[in-house]
Protein backbone atom coordinates (compact mmCIF):
# COMPACT_ATOMS: atom_id res chain seq x y z
CA UNK A 1 0.00 0.00 0.00
CA UNK A 2 1.29 3.39 -0.91
CA UNK A 3 2.03 6.22 1.44
CA UNK A 4 -1.04 7.90 0.01
CA UNK A 5 -3.00 4.94 1.24
CA UNK A 6 -3.69 6.50 4.60
CA UNK A 7 -6.39 8.69 3.16
CA UNK A 8 -6.87 7.70 -0.46
CA UNK A 9 -5.36 4.28 -1.14
CA UNK A 10 -4.72 3.94 -4.83
CA UNK A 11 -5.09 0.39 -5.90
CA UNK A 12 -3.91 -0.08 -9.43
CA UNK A 13 -5.54 -3.10 -10.95
CA UNK A 14 -3.20 -5.65 -12.47
CA UNK A 15 -5.45 -6.11 -15.49
CA UNK A 16 -4.29 -5.30 -19.00
CA UNK A 17 -4.06 -1.67 -20.19
CA UNK A 18 -5.52 0.89 -20.05
CA UNK A 19 -5.03 0.62 -16.32
CA UNK A 20 -8.17 1.29 -14.37
CA UNK A 21 -7.52 2.80 -11.00
CA UNK A 22 -9.96 2.65 -8.14
CA UNK A 23 -10.12 5.54 -5.76
CA UNK A 24 -12.07 6.28 -2.65
CA UNK A 25 -14.90 8.67 -3.33
CA UNK A 26 -17.25 8.79 -0.33
CA UNK A 27 -16.42 8.13 3.31
CA UNK A 28 -18.35 5.52 5.26
CA UNK A 29 -19.99 8.35 7.21
CA UNK A 30 -21.32 9.99 4.05
CA UNK A 31 -22.51 6.70 2.60
CA UNK A 32 -24.28 5.40 5.72
CA UNK A 33 -25.95 8.73 6.51
CA UNK A 34 -26.89 9.20 2.85
CA UNK A 35 -28.79 5.90 2.66
CA UNK A 36 -30.39 6.34 6.09
CA UNK A 37 -31.61 9.72 4.86
CA UNK A 38 -32.93 8.12 1.65
CA UNK A 39 -34.90 5.51 3.61
CA UNK A 40 -36.31 7.92 6.18
CA UNK A 41 -37.08 10.62 3.59
CA UNK A 42 -38.97 8.12 1.46
CA UNK A 43 -40.98 6.98 4.51
CA UNK A 44 -41.69 10.60 5.46
CA UNK A 45 -42.77 11.46 1.92
CA UNK A 46 -45.19 8.55 1.49
CA UNK A 47 -46.72 8.93 4.96
CA UNK A 48 -46.80 12.72 4.62
CA UNK A 49 -48.78 12.37 1.41
CA UNK A 50 -51.22 10.05 3.21
CA UNK A 51 -51.69 12.63 5.98
CA UNK A 52 -52.37 15.37 3.42
CA UNK A 53 -55.08 13.16 1.88
CA UNK A 54 -56.98 13.21 5.19
CA UNK A 55 -57.31 17.00 4.86
CA UNK A 56 -56.14 18.30 1.45
CA UNK A 57 -56.93 21.91 2.40
CA UNK A 58 -54.34 24.46 3.47
CA UNK A 59 -54.75 27.66 5.49
CA UNK A 60 -52.75 30.60 6.73
CA UNK A 61 -52.64 31.83 10.33
CA UNK A 62 -53.46 30.01 13.54
CA UNK A 63 -56.64 28.10 12.72
CA UNK A 64 -58.43 26.60 9.74
CA UNK A 65 -60.96 23.84 9.15
CA UNK A 66 -63.61 22.63 6.71
CA UNK A 67 -65.82 25.56 7.73
CA UNK A 68 -63.28 28.32 7.04
CA UNK A 69 -61.80 29.74 3.81
CA UNK A 70 -58.62 28.10 2.53
CA UNK A 71 -55.34 29.45 1.22
CA UNK A 72 -55.50 26.70 -1.40
CA UNK A 73 -56.96 23.23 -1.86
CA UNK A 74 -55.45 20.22 -3.56
CA UNK A 75 -58.12 18.92 -5.95
CA UNK A 76 -58.01 15.30 -4.78
CA UNK A 77 -60.50 13.12 -2.89
CA UNK A 78 -60.01 12.83 0.86
CA UNK A 79 -59.87 9.94 3.33
CA UNK A 80 -62.45 11.75 5.50
CA UNK A 81 -66.10 12.32 4.65
CA UNK A 82 -66.12 15.59 6.65
CA UNK A 83 -63.94 17.31 4.04
CA UNK A 84 -65.83 18.94 1.15
CA UNK A 85 -63.77 17.79 -1.85
CA UNK A 86 -66.35 17.69 -4.66
CA UNK A 87 -65.79 13.93 -5.01
CA UNK A 88 -68.61 11.68 -3.92
CA UNK A 89 -66.36 8.96 -2.55
CA UNK A 90 -63.97 8.70 0.38
CA UNK A 91 -60.53 7.10 0.26
CA UNK A 92 -59.48 4.53 2.88
CA UNK A 93 -58.04 6.00 6.09
CA UNK A 94 -54.27 5.40 6.26
CA UNK A 95 -53.46 7.93 8.96
CA UNK A 96 -52.77 5.54 11.85
CA UNK A 97 -49.68 3.75 10.55
CA UNK A 98 -48.75 6.84 8.52
CA UNK A 99 -48.52 8.92 11.69
CA UNK A 100 -46.58 6.24 13.59
CA UNK A 101 -44.12 5.81 10.71
CA UNK A 102 -43.87 9.55 9.96
CA UNK A 103 -42.61 10.31 13.46
CA UNK A 104 -40.39 7.25 13.70
CA UNK A 105 -38.78 8.12 10.35
CA UNK A 106 -38.46 11.73 11.52
CA UNK A 107 -36.41 10.50 14.50
CA UNK A 108 -34.15 8.48 12.17
CA UNK A 109 -33.74 11.52 9.92
CA UNK A 110 -32.99 13.93 12.77
CA UNK A 111 -30.55 11.59 14.54
CA UNK A 112 -28.83 10.77 11.23
CA UNK A 113 -28.58 14.48 10.49
CA UNK A 114 -27.07 15.19 13.91
CA UNK A 115 -24.44 12.46 13.45
CA UNK A 116 -23.69 13.65 9.90
CA UNK A 117 -23.35 17.34 10.79
CA UNK A 118 -21.30 16.71 13.95
CA UNK A 119 -18.93 14.27 12.28
CA UNK A 120 -18.66 16.44 9.17
CA UNK A 121 -17.62 19.44 11.23
CA UNK A 122 -15.08 17.30 13.06
CA UNK A 123 -13.58 15.82 9.85
CA UNK A 124 -13.82 19.14 7.94
CA UNK A 125 -16.02 17.40 5.34
CA UNK A 126 -18.04 20.58 4.79
CA UNK A 127 -14.97 22.77 4.33
CA UNK A 128 -13.06 20.31 2.16
CA UNK A 129 -15.85 18.89 0.01
CA UNK A 130 -18.91 21.12 0.13
CA UNK A 131 -17.86 24.75 0.56
CA UNK A 132 -17.12 26.06 -2.94
CA UNK A 133 -13.42 26.75 -3.34
CA UNK A 134 -12.41 30.37 -4.08
CA UNK A 135 -11.83 29.42 -7.73
CA UNK A 136 -15.32 27.93 -8.03
CA UNK A 137 -16.94 30.83 -6.26
CA UNK A 138 -17.42 33.10 -9.24
CA UNK A 139 -20.37 33.81 -11.50
CA UNK A 140 -18.44 32.69 -14.57
CA UNK A 141 -17.62 29.33 -12.98
CA UNK A 142 -21.27 28.86 -12.04
CA UNK A 143 -22.30 29.86 -15.59
CA UNK A 144 -19.86 27.29 -17.00
CA UNK A 145 -21.50 24.52 -14.99
CA UNK A 146 -24.97 25.49 -16.20
CA UNK A 147 -23.76 25.73 -19.80
CA UNK A 148 -22.36 22.23 -19.51
CA UNK A 149 -25.70 21.05 -18.10
CA UNK A 150 -27.59 22.72 -20.95
CA UNK A 151 -25.30 21.17 -23.55
CA UNK A 152 -25.83 17.88 -21.71
CA UNK A 153 -22.09 17.50 -21.73
CA UNK A 154 -21.02 14.41 -19.78
CA UNK A 155 -19.24 15.27 -16.55
CA UNK A 156 -15.48 14.98 -16.76
CA UNK A 157 -13.44 12.69 -14.56
CA UNK A 158 -12.89 15.57 -12.17
CA UNK A 159 -16.57 15.46 -11.32
CA UNK A 160 -16.31 11.79 -10.41
CA UNK A 161 -14.00 12.83 -7.61
CA UNK A 162 -15.25 16.20 -6.51
CA UNK A 163 -18.48 18.17 -6.58
CA UNK A 164 -18.90 21.10 -8.95
CA UNK A 165 -19.94 24.47 -7.57
CA UNK A 166 -23.66 24.13 -8.35
CA UNK A 167 -23.74 20.75 -6.63
CA UNK A 168 -21.96 22.20 -3.61
CA UNK A 169 -24.37 25.11 -3.29
CA UNK A 170 -27.46 22.90 -3.68
CA UNK A 171 -26.21 20.32 -1.17
CA UNK A 172 -25.40 23.06 1.35
CA UNK A 173 -28.87 24.58 0.84
CA UNK A 174 -30.51 21.21 1.39
CA UNK A 175 -28.41 20.42 4.47
CA UNK A 176 -28.46 23.83 6.16
CA UNK A 177 -31.70 25.46 4.95
CA UNK A 178 -34.32 22.99 3.71
CA UNK A 179 -33.83 20.14 6.21
CA UNK A 180 -33.63 22.45 9.27
CA UNK A 181 -36.74 24.28 8.04
CA UNK A 182 -38.73 21.11 7.39
CA UNK A 183 -37.80 19.89 10.90
CA UNK A 184 -38.71 23.26 12.45
CA UNK A 185 -42.10 23.46 10.68
CA UNK A 186 -42.75 19.82 11.59
CA UNK A 187 -41.95 20.37 15.26
CA UNK A 188 -44.26 23.40 15.20
CA UNK A 189 -47.13 20.98 14.53
CA UNK A 190 -46.56 19.19 17.85
CA UNK A 191 -48.95 20.65 20.44
CA UNK A 192 -46.74 19.46 23.30
CA UNK A 193 -43.50 20.79 21.81
CA UNK A 194 -45.25 24.13 21.22
CA UNK A 195 -46.28 24.25 24.87
CA UNK A 196 -42.62 24.17 25.88
CA UNK A 197 -41.32 26.47 23.12
CA UNK A 198 -44.26 28.55 21.81
CA UNK A 199 -41.92 30.58 19.56
CA UNK A 200 -41.52 27.43 17.42
CA UNK A 201 -45.01 27.96 16.03
CA UNK A 202 -45.60 31.66 16.79
CA UNK A 203 -42.60 32.78 14.67
CA UNK A 204 -44.10 30.97 11.69
CA UNK A 205 -47.36 32.89 11.99
CA UNK A 206 -49.47 30.21 13.66
CA UNK A 207 -50.23 26.54 13.46
CA UNK A 208 -51.88 26.49 10.03
CA UNK A 209 -49.09 28.63 8.54
CA UNK A 210 -46.60 26.12 9.95
CA UNK A 211 -48.52 23.24 8.34
CA UNK A 212 -48.64 25.05 4.97
CA UNK A 213 -44.92 25.88 5.16
CA UNK A 214 -44.14 22.26 6.12
CA UNK A 215 -45.95 21.20 2.94
CA UNK A 216 -44.09 23.75 0.77
CA UNK A 217 -40.62 22.89 2.13
CA UNK A 218 -41.38 19.22 1.59
CA UNK A 219 -42.22 20.17 -1.99
CA UNK A 220 -38.85 21.92 -2.38
CA UNK A 221 -37.12 18.80 -1.06
CA UNK A 222 -39.00 16.70 -3.62
CA UNK A 223 -37.86 19.10 -6.37
CA UNK A 224 -34.28 18.65 -5.13
CA UNK A 225 -34.75 14.87 -5.12
CA UNK A 226 -35.99 14.88 -8.73
CA UNK A 227 -33.11 17.12 -9.86
CA UNK A 228 -30.58 15.03 -7.90
CA UNK A 229 -31.72 11.71 -9.39
CA UNK A 230 -31.93 13.28 -12.88
CA UNK A 231 -28.34 14.56 -12.66
CA UNK A 232 -27.14 11.20 -11.36
CA UNK A 233 -28.85 9.45 -14.26
CA UNK A 234 -27.19 11.83 -16.73
CA UNK A 235 -23.79 11.33 -15.10
CA UNK A 236 -24.15 7.55 -15.09
CA UNK A 237 -26.69 6.16 -12.64
CA UNK A 238 -24.90 2.92 -11.74
CA UNK A 239 -21.40 4.31 -11.43
CA UNK A 240 -22.61 7.15 -9.19
CA UNK A 241 -24.89 4.87 -7.15
CA UNK A 242 -22.12 2.27 -6.82
CA UNK A 243 -19.80 5.00 -5.59
CA UNK A 244 -22.35 5.92 -2.90
CA UNK A 245 -22.65 2.24 -1.87
CA UNK A 246 -19.06 0.98 -2.07
CA UNK A 247 -17.40 4.35 -1.65
CA UNK A 248 -15.16 3.74 -4.67
CA UNK A 249 -14.99 4.98 -8.23
CA UNK A 250 -13.03 3.63 -11.15
CA UNK A 251 -11.26 5.92 -13.53
CA UNK A 252 -10.98 6.60 -16.36
CA UNK A 253 -14.72 6.18 -15.82
CA UNK A 254 -16.27 3.53 -17.97
CA UNK A 255 -19.26 4.76 -19.95
CA UNK A 256 -21.66 2.80 -21.99
Amino acid sequence: MSALGLCYPLRVATASPPPIAVTRRHTALVRVTHWLTVISFFALLVTGAELVISHPRFYWGETGNSGTPTLFKIPIPSSRDTVPTGYNYVLPDQNGWSRYLHFEAAWVLVLTGLVYVTASVMTAHFRKNLLPSPAQWSSSAIRDVFQKYLRRAPPGDAESHSYNVVQRISYLLVIFVLFPFVIWTGLALSPSFDSALPATVNLLGGRQSARTLHFFVSGLLVIFLVAHVTMISLAGFWSRTRAMITGRVKFPSERS
Binding site: G96, R99, W107, S192, S195
Partner: protein, 251 residues
Protein backbone atom coordinates in the same frame (compact mmCIF):
# COMPACT_ATOMS: atom_id res chain seq x y z
CA UNK B 1 -10.11 -6.16 2.92
CA UNK B 2 -7.63 -4.66 5.29
CA UNK B 3 -8.89 -4.55 8.82
CA UNK B 4 -6.26 -3.39 11.21
CA UNK B 5 -6.18 -4.67 14.75
CA UNK B 6 -6.71 -1.13 16.02
CA UNK B 7 -9.83 -0.71 13.91
CA UNK B 8 -11.14 -4.10 15.03
CA UNK B 9 -10.67 -3.19 18.68
CA UNK B 10 -12.21 0.29 18.40
CA UNK B 11 -15.17 -1.09 16.44
CA UNK B 12 -15.61 -3.85 19.01
CA UNK B 13 -15.44 -1.43 21.93
CA UNK B 14 -17.87 0.96 20.20
CA UNK B 15 -20.32 -1.87 19.49
CA UNK B 16 -20.12 -3.16 23.07
CA UNK B 17 -20.59 0.37 24.43
CA UNK B 18 -23.57 0.82 22.09
CA UNK B 19 -25.27 -2.37 23.24
CA UNK B 20 -24.57 -1.60 26.91
CA UNK B 21 -25.81 1.96 26.40
CA UNK B 22 -29.05 0.76 24.79
CA UNK B 23 -29.60 -1.74 27.60
CA UNK B 24 -29.00 0.96 30.23
CA UNK B 25 -31.25 3.42 28.39
CA UNK B 26 -34.03 0.86 28.21
CA UNK B 27 -33.71 0.09 31.95
CA UNK B 28 -33.78 3.79 32.87
CA UNK B 29 -36.73 4.36 30.51
CA UNK B 30 -38.66 1.53 32.19
CA UNK B 31 -37.84 2.77 35.71
CA UNK B 32 -39.03 6.29 34.95
CA UNK B 33 -42.14 5.19 33.01
CA UNK B 34 -40.82 6.64 29.77
CA UNK B 35 -42.10 3.78 27.60
CA UNK B 36 -45.66 4.33 26.31
CA UNK B 37 -48.14 1.42 26.54
CA UNK B 38 -48.01 0.97 22.75
CA UNK B 39 -44.21 1.11 22.80
CA UNK B 40 -43.64 -2.55 21.95
CA UNK B 41 -44.69 -2.50 18.31
CA UNK B 42 -42.76 -1.93 15.09
CA UNK B 43 -43.20 1.78 15.77
CA UNK B 44 -42.26 1.40 19.46
CA UNK B 45 -38.77 2.96 19.18
CA UNK B 46 -40.16 6.11 17.56
CA UNK B 47 -43.06 6.35 20.03
CA UNK B 48 -40.74 5.79 22.99
CA UNK B 49 -38.29 8.45 21.80
CA UNK B 50 -41.13 10.94 21.34
CA UNK B 51 -42.89 10.19 24.63
CA UNK B 52 -39.66 10.04 26.66
CA UNK B 53 -38.37 13.30 25.14
CA UNK B 54 -41.67 15.03 25.90
CA UNK B 55 -41.77 13.73 29.47
CA UNK B 56 -38.17 14.74 30.14
CA UNK B 57 -38.45 18.19 28.54
CA UNK B 58 -42.06 19.34 28.63
CA UNK B 59 -43.63 17.70 31.68
CA UNK B 60 -44.90 20.97 33.18
CA UNK B 61 -45.15 23.26 30.17
CA UNK B 62 -48.45 25.00 29.47
CA UNK B 63 -50.34 24.76 26.19
CA UNK B 64 -50.58 28.07 24.34
CA UNK B 65 -53.58 30.15 25.38
CA UNK B 66 -55.09 32.77 23.08
CA UNK B 67 -56.79 36.14 23.48
CA UNK B 68 -60.57 36.17 23.35
CA UNK B 69 -60.40 37.88 19.96
CA UNK B 70 -58.88 34.71 18.48
CA UNK B 71 -61.79 32.44 19.39
CA UNK B 72 -62.87 30.81 16.11
CA UNK B 73 -66.20 32.05 14.82
CA UNK B 74 -66.52 28.67 13.07
CA UNK B 75 -65.44 25.92 15.46
CA UNK B 76 -65.58 22.67 13.56
CA UNK B 77 -67.75 19.98 15.10
CA UNK B 78 -66.29 16.65 14.05
CA UNK B 79 -68.55 13.70 13.39
CA UNK B 80 -70.06 11.96 16.40
CA UNK B 81 -71.84 8.65 16.65
CA UNK B 82 -75.63 8.72 16.47
CA UNK B 83 -76.94 9.33 20.03
CA UNK B 84 -78.26 6.22 21.76
CA UNK B 85 -81.71 6.00 23.37
CA UNK B 86 -80.02 6.25 26.77
CA UNK B 87 -78.26 9.45 25.71
CA UNK B 88 -81.55 10.89 24.48
CA UNK B 89 -83.13 10.18 27.88
CA UNK B 90 -80.28 12.09 29.61
CA UNK B 91 -80.73 14.90 27.10
CA UNK B 92 -84.48 15.06 27.76
CA UNK B 93 -83.72 15.40 31.47
CA UNK B 94 -81.43 18.32 30.77
CA UNK B 95 -78.49 16.02 31.69
CA UNK B 96 -79.50 16.20 35.37
CA UNK B 97 -79.23 12.39 35.34
CA UNK B 98 -75.68 12.41 33.86
CA UNK B 99 -73.10 10.89 36.19
CA UNK B 100 -69.32 10.79 36.15
CA UNK B 101 -68.21 7.74 38.11
CA UNK B 102 -64.68 7.94 39.50
CA UNK B 103 -63.19 4.71 40.86
CA UNK B 104 -60.11 2.51 40.82
CA UNK B 105 -57.12 3.50 42.95
CA UNK B 106 -58.95 6.19 44.90
CA UNK B 107 -59.82 6.49 48.58
CA UNK B 108 -63.47 7.46 48.03
CA UNK B 109 -65.05 6.21 44.79
CA UNK B 110 -67.68 8.79 43.85
CA UNK B 111 -70.38 9.39 41.24
CA UNK B 112 -70.52 13.10 40.41
CA UNK B 113 -73.51 14.83 38.86
CA UNK B 114 -72.83 17.84 36.67
CA UNK B 115 -73.96 20.15 39.47
CA UNK B 116 -71.53 18.37 41.84
CA UNK B 117 -68.72 19.05 39.37
CA UNK B 118 -69.82 22.68 39.09
CA UNK B 119 -69.31 23.18 42.83
CA UNK B 120 -65.59 22.45 42.35
CA UNK B 121 -63.27 25.38 41.51
CA UNK B 122 -63.89 26.49 37.94
CA UNK B 123 -61.21 27.12 35.37
CA UNK B 124 -61.52 28.47 31.87
CA UNK B 125 -58.97 28.40 29.08
CA UNK B 126 -58.86 29.59 25.48
CA UNK B 127 -56.93 26.85 23.71
CA UNK B 128 -56.71 25.30 20.27
CA UNK B 129 -58.28 22.00 19.30
CA UNK B 130 -55.83 20.33 16.97
CA UNK B 131 -57.05 17.39 14.92
CA UNK B 132 -54.62 14.75 13.70
CA UNK B 133 -56.04 15.35 10.20
CA UNK B 134 -54.57 18.85 10.19
CA UNK B 135 -57.44 21.23 10.93
CA UNK B 136 -57.87 23.29 14.09
CA UNK B 137 -59.97 25.87 15.89
CA UNK B 138 -59.67 27.98 19.01
CA UNK B 139 -62.41 27.96 21.66
CA UNK B 140 -62.91 28.82 25.28
CA UNK B 141 -63.40 25.79 27.50
CA UNK B 142 -64.95 26.09 30.96
CA UNK B 143 -64.94 23.38 33.61
CA UNK B 144 -62.98 22.04 36.50
CA UNK B 145 -59.43 20.71 36.22
CA UNK B 146 -59.29 16.90 36.37
CA UNK B 147 -56.77 17.36 39.21
CA UNK B 148 -59.55 18.82 41.41
CA UNK B 149 -61.73 15.73 40.93
CA UNK B 150 -58.78 13.41 41.55
CA UNK B 151 -57.99 15.35 44.72
CA UNK B 152 -61.65 15.17 45.80
CA UNK B 153 -61.74 11.35 45.55
CA UNK B 154 -58.29 10.95 47.11
CA UNK B 155 -56.33 9.42 44.27
CA UNK B 156 -53.69 7.04 45.64
CA UNK B 157 -50.02 7.95 45.16
CA UNK B 158 -49.19 4.75 43.27
CA UNK B 159 -51.60 5.73 40.48
CA UNK B 160 -49.77 6.04 37.16
CA UNK B 161 -52.56 6.43 34.62
CA UNK B 162 -56.08 7.81 34.49
CA UNK B 163 -58.36 5.78 32.23
CA UNK B 164 -61.54 7.43 30.96
CA UNK B 165 -64.64 6.19 29.12
CA UNK B 166 -67.33 7.78 27.01
CA UNK B 167 -71.02 6.96 27.42
CA UNK B 168 -70.40 4.33 24.77
CA UNK B 169 -67.78 2.35 26.63
CA UNK B 170 -65.97 1.11 23.52
CA UNK B 171 -64.64 4.68 23.32
CA UNK B 172 -61.98 5.01 25.95
CA UNK B 173 -58.56 6.49 26.48
CA UNK B 174 -55.97 7.15 29.13
CA UNK B 175 -53.36 9.71 30.09
CA UNK B 176 -50.38 9.53 32.43
CA UNK B 177 -50.25 11.52 35.68
CA UNK B 178 -48.20 14.31 34.07
CA UNK B 179 -51.22 15.09 31.89
CA UNK B 180 -53.87 14.06 34.45
CA UNK B 181 -52.55 16.48 37.09
CA UNK B 182 -51.68 19.17 34.53
CA UNK B 183 -53.48 22.44 35.37
CA UNK B 184 -54.94 22.73 31.84
CA UNK B 185 -56.40 19.22 31.70
CA UNK B 186 -60.04 20.06 32.11
CA UNK B 187 -63.37 18.35 32.62
CA UNK B 188 -65.18 20.79 30.35
CA UNK B 189 -68.88 21.52 30.77
CA UNK B 190 -68.96 24.90 29.04
CA UNK B 191 -67.71 26.24 25.73
CA UNK B 192 -67.52 29.85 24.59
CA UNK B 193 -69.66 31.21 27.48
CA UNK B 194 -72.44 28.63 27.07
CA UNK B 195 -73.09 25.02 28.01
CA UNK B 196 -70.94 22.55 26.09
CA UNK B 197 -73.05 21.68 23.00
CA UNK B 198 -73.70 17.99 22.34
CA UNK B 199 -71.93 18.14 18.98
CA UNK B 200 -68.77 19.26 20.81
CA UNK B 201 -69.05 16.48 23.41
CA UNK B 202 -71.61 17.91 25.84
CA UNK B 203 -72.56 17.65 28.56
CA UNK B 204 -69.05 16.61 29.65
CA UNK B 205 -65.79 16.05 27.84
CA UNK B 206 -62.18 15.93 28.85
CA UNK B 207 -59.83 18.50 27.33
CA UNK B 208 -56.13 17.58 27.07
CA UNK B 209 -54.85 20.65 25.21
CA UNK B 210 -51.23 19.46 24.92
CA UNK B 211 -52.34 16.45 22.88
CA UNK B 212 -54.23 16.00 19.61
CA UNK B 213 -58.02 16.26 19.60
CA UNK B 214 -58.65 12.53 19.72
CA UNK B 215 -57.38 12.38 23.32
CA UNK B 216 -60.08 14.88 24.37
CA UNK B 217 -62.84 12.30 24.64
CA UNK B 218 -66.46 13.45 24.39
CA UNK B 219 -69.47 12.33 26.54
CA UNK B 220 -67.37 11.41 29.56
CA UNK B 221 -69.06 9.05 32.07
CA UNK B 222 -66.38 7.09 33.88
CA UNK B 223 -62.85 7.63 35.18
CA UNK B 224 -60.61 4.93 36.69
CA UNK B 225 -57.28 5.46 38.42
CA UNK B 226 -54.80 2.63 37.84
CA UNK B 227 -51.14 1.69 38.15
CA UNK B 228 -51.15 -0.42 34.98
CA UNK B 229 -52.87 -0.31 31.62
CA UNK B 230 -52.42 -4.04 30.96
CA UNK B 231 -55.92 -4.96 32.14
CA UNK B 232 -57.65 -2.41 29.91
CA UNK B 233 -58.69 -3.45 26.42
CA UNK B 234 -55.73 -4.96 24.60
CA UNK B 235 -53.35 -3.35 27.07
CA UNK B 236 -52.28 -0.64 24.65
CA UNK B 237 -53.50 2.27 26.80
CA UNK B 238 -56.52 3.33 24.78
CA UNK B 239 -58.79 2.26 21.98
CA UNK B 240 -56.71 4.32 19.51
CA UNK B 241 -53.74 1.91 19.09
CA UNK B 242 -56.27 -0.86 18.43
CA UNK B 243 -57.25 1.19 15.37
CA UNK B 244 -53.62 1.93 14.53
CA UNK B 245 -53.35 5.37 16.18
CA UNK B 246 -50.74 6.19 18.79
CA UNK B 247 -51.58 6.34 22.50
CA UNK B 248 -49.47 9.43 23.14
CA UNK B 249 -50.78 12.19 20.91
CA UNK B 250 -48.62 15.08 22.09
CA UNK B 251 -46.33 14.23 19.13
Amino acid sequence: MNISRRRLITTGVAAAAGVAGLAAASRIARQHSLIPPDGCSLYGPGETLTYAAQRLLTRHSLAREFPRSMISSVPFANEIAKPTEEFKRHQAAGFSTWRLTVDGMVAHPTAFSLSDLKTLPTHSQITEVVCEEGWSYVAEWIGTPLANVLHEVGVLPQTRYIVYYASEPYLWGSIDMADALHPQTLLAMGMNDGDLPVKFGGPLRIRVPRQLGYKSLKFLTHITATDTLKRFGKGLGSVDPEYGYSWYAGI
